[in-house]
Amino acid sequence: MVTIEISPYGLHHCARLVAQLKGVKPGSAVRFDLSRWTFVRPPLLTIVAAHIRNVALQRQAGAVEVVLPVAPNVRNYLNQMNFEGALVRGEMKNLFEISATQNLPICPLRTGDDTESAALRLKQIVAAKLTSAPEVGQPIASALAITLAELMENFRKHSESASHAFACAQYYAEHEYQDAGFQHRHRQGAIEIAIADTGIGIEASLMSAPELAAAIRSGANPCELATRFGVTSKEGQGHQGYGLWITRRLAEKNFGSFYLMSGKHLFGVVRGRRPKIARLSVPWSGTFVGMRLNLHRPIDIQAVYGELPGLEILE
């Protein structure tokens, strides 16, 4: 049995997960060792869930073992987030019966109903945290629900994966941490959304569209390209490319952060500022989207919609 050790510290440590998986022979038994986790956040949770599920699908029952964290607080957190249920049984908890009010548990994205249930539950969680000013809180909750729904639909429609994507979200009352070399601080609350899959990836998806393939061959970062308005590989199949563009614009206006990671490429907006574009040392299997928005700053999706009619569309 091959043991895969997964560090919980920072997205860039996921490269080690991917590198280890590349060295595993097809069909061999695999143990995912999460025992040393002392904390974990939604981005790594969704990435690990997607990879474990994908590896399990390629093997017979019983060939994949997951060693859960030793730390009780982390085990409790994973239980709240339905980590085992989502991985082992591919199920969603009944989101509207759970008592936890901080988190949206891991949701496997299989159907449009999954999308809408998860988005509605996230809206309830956020609205419950912003009751002191409902005239502000309700639009924010709606904006987050719609953003989550759009991102989920992106993954459902574009992943082309034998497995499905996983999404989850978490509310932070006040939080400060460092990630990928940046210091993040959220006062008066923040919401973090994360979605990951092990599908074909952004570049492969966009390469099916001739004009987008040309842009990529000319050096465009596929992840940055995918966040531009109207960019979709499925325009001929009725899609219009709203999801990632809306997510990027909301993060920019909110001075929040947004990461899109796929294949060899990373694109990010940190604190609403100048985008970060990078190539990864180890190509990433699939796609990850992460977003952190400050709840004390505007999250005005109507303002983003208002930009639509006047936008130039990449043709």
């Binding site: 159907t111 449009g112 109903d113 999308t115 809408e116 988005a119 509605l120 809206k123 709606s142 629900a145 719609i146 729904a149 759009e150 639909e153 429609k157 569209a209 001739p210 004009e211 109207g230 325009e235 001929g236 009725g238 899609h239 219009q240 709203y242 999801g243 809306i246 109507q302 919609y305 208002g306 930009e307 639509l308 009619p309 936008l311 569309i313 043709e315």
Partner: protein, 103 residues
């Protein structure tokens, strides 16, 4: 009358957009004028709006709300609907102007 909120409170997927658009198309094909009641909907995503109202507008070659489809209580979603319909019509016009384009 077609009322999406009777199915679910959040119109957040293209799949649901196809369901509602199909109902509208079937009603129109039957010769009826159609009323789409958006009251009761908590939220609407761009993908739903595009799949339903955007594509209908593209079929008609003009804003679907200016014809036989009356949309009631659209105010919370007006900016979104205006935007997705404008994008669909713009793209259709651009394609029509380039008949030999690859897509």
């Amino acid at each position: 009358m077609i009322r999406p909120a009777d199915d679910k409170p959040l119109a957040g997927s293209r799949d649901f957009g196809i369901v509602i658009r199909t109902r509208i198309e079937e009603a129109l094909a039957g010769g009826d004028d159609v009323v789409v009641e958006l009251g009761g909907l908590e939220d609407m995503s761009p993908s739903f709006a595009d799949e339903c109202f955007g594509k209908l507008s593209e079929q008609f070659g003009e804003d679907v709300r200016s014809r036989r489809v009356q949309v009631r209580n659209e105010e919370p979603f007006r900016v979104l609907l205006d935007g997705v319909i404008a994008v669909r019509l713009h793209r259709a016009q651009a394609r029509a102007a380039r008949p030999h384009a690859s897509r």
